[in-house]
Amino acid sequence: MDIDDLLAEVTADAVPQQQRDLQELTRAWIAERVAPELLPYPAELMERVLERIRRQIELVEDQTGNLDPKANFKLIIIQTELERFKFLVRSFLRARIKKIDTHPLHLLALHQNPPSSTSILNPLLSPSELQYLNTHQSLLSTHYSSSFLSQFPNSLQRLDDTAGGISMVDKPDEETAVFVRCLRDVGEVWVEGTDNRFQMKRGDVWVVRWSAVRGWVGEGSCELI
C-alpha cells in the first residue's frame, strides 16, 4: 500500500453517502437499461433514495408559500434537482417493468428458486414488483382461458409447457453483446465456447458477451455503459 492508496482510502471515506447513492443509482439505471436480463433489486439503495425524495418533497411543500425572491430561487434549484432524481427512479423502475412484462414466468421461477450465486440480501424482485407480476400474470391467464384456452383439449391448455424438449417459457438471450467499462483490474476473461481470452484492466472499455462479464458487473468491478 503506497501513499496513493492511503490517500484514496481517506477520500473515498470522505465522500458523503448522498453522493455515493447518486453514483450507485445512476449506475443501476444504466445497467438496467442496457443489460439483457433483469438485475437484482437494490433494496437498501432504493429505500435511502426514496426516503430522501419524500423528505425533499415535504420541504418543497412547506416552502412554496414563501414569497421572498431569494428563497424562491433556492426552491427552483431544489425542485429542478428533485425532478432529475424522480426521472432517474422512474426510468429505472419502468425499465424493470418492461423486462418483467417480457419474461414473467421465467422471472417468477428465478425469483422463487434463485441460483446460488445471488445473495439473499438482494432478491431479484422487490415486494411490489412481485405483487405486480403475480397479479398481472393471473389476470392474463384468466383472460386467455376465458377467451379461448378453455376450448382447447386439456393437454394443450398450459402456458408453461415443456413438451417436445422445447420450453414455452421465454428467456432473455444471455449471450447478447454489451458495452462494459472496468472499474478495477479483473484479470482474464474467457468467453465460453470460444478461444477468446483477454485481460481486462481498470479503465478499459470492451464489447463483450453479457454472460462473460455478468459476475463482474454484479460485484461492482465492471459497469455497463
Binding site: 484514496a8 482510502e9 448522498q18 453514483q23 433556492k74 479503465g203 472499455v205
Partner: protein, 242 residues
C-alpha cells in the same frame, strides 16, 4: 407503464447523464449552501471559483447569475493537439483522462463518469473525457460568450467527431462473433450511435455459428469433468470443420 425504449441509452438520456458532470463556475451573485439530494451544494461567493454540476451551472448561466469556465481540454490549442494525435494514430481513439487513485479496499465504491470531475477548470488538458462531445456542444450553445474563440472550438470539435466516427466505422471490419473488442477512450455519444449496429452484427454472427460453438462448449465441459483434455476428439472435430 413499461418503458417503450430499446436497450441502450438514447441521446437525450446521455445528455441528462452528462449534466451531472462537474464544471467550474465563477458566480456573480451570492448563494447560500443548499442541502440537495445528491449531496451538499457549496455556497457561492463571487468571485470564488466553485465546482457545480452542469445542470445547475447552465441554470445559473441562463439567468446571468454566473459564468462558466470551460475545461482546459476545450481550449483551441488542446483540441488541436488531440486532433493531430487522433489523425496520426491509425488504430484506437486517443487515450482517456488519467484515472484518480483507487481505494485499496475492494468493497469501496469506484466512481466513474459523469462523477469524475474530468471537466472542471483543473481537469487534464490533453485528454477527451467520456462526455466530451455533449459537454462541448452544451457549453458552446449556452455559454459561448465564456469561450475566447468559440468558432474555432466548434470547428475543432466537428473535426474530432469526424475522425473518430471514421475510426468507429473502420473498426466494423474487426467485428466477429466472440465479442471482445476493446474500445478504450470511446465517448458516450459514440457508444450510443454505434450500439445497435455493433451489438447487432456480433449477435447475428454468433447465431450463425451457434451450433459449432455449442459443440465446443459441450467438449470443454466434458474435458473439465474428465479432468484432462481429450485431445483425440479435438483433432477429429477440427477436421470436420475444415
Amino acid at each position: 407503464m413499461a418503458l417503450p425504449l430499446p436497450p441502450g441509452l438514447t441521446p437525450p438520456e446521455i445528455a441528462f447523464l452528462c449534466e451531472m458532470e462537474l464544471v467550474t463556475v465563477i458566480p456573480r451573485q451570492r448563494l447560500e449552501g443548499l442541502e440537495l439530494l445528491g449531496g451538499r451544494l457549496p455556497p457561492l461567493n463571487p468571485p470564488h471559483r466553485t465546482p457545480l454540476p452542469l445542470w445547475l451551472a447552465l441554470l445559473l448561466k441562463r439567468q446571468r447569475r454566473a459564468n462558466i469556465l470551460p475545461p482546459p481540454w476545450l481550449a483551441p490549442h488542446s483540441l488541436t493537439a488531440i486532433l493531430d494525435h487522433e489523425t496520426n494514430k491509425e488504430e484506437g481513439f486517443s487515450p482517456p483522462p488519467r484515472l484518480p487513485p483507487l481505494a485499496a479496499s475492494s468493497t469501496a465504491l469506484a466512481f466513474s463518469p459523469p462523477f469524475l470531475a474530468s471537466s472542471t477548470a483543473e481537469a487534464a488538458p490533453d485528454a477527451l473525457p467520456y462526455h466530451w462531445l455533449e459537454i462541448g456542444e452544451m457549453l458552446l450553445e449556452a455559454a459561448s460568450d465564456d469561450f475566447e474563440e468559440p468558432d474555432s472550438v466548434r470547428k475543432l470539435l466537428r473535426g474530432l467527431r469526424e475522425v473518430r466516427m471514421a475510426k468507429l466505422r473502420k473498426g466494423v471490419e474487426l467485428l466477429y462473433a466472440d465479442g471482445g473488442i476493446q474500445l478504450n477512450g470511446v465517448g458516450a455519444m459514440e457508444v450510443s450511435e454505434g450500439r445497435a449496429f455493433v451489438t447487432g452484427v456480433i449477435d447475428n454472427l454468433r447465431k450463425i455459428g451457434a451450433s459449432r460453438e455449442q459443440q465446443r462448449k459441450d467438449r470443454d465441459r466434458e474435458d473439465r469433468e474428465n479432468g484432462y483434455p481429450s485431445t483425440a476428439d479435438y483433432d477429429d472435430d477440427e477436421m470436420e470443420m475444415q
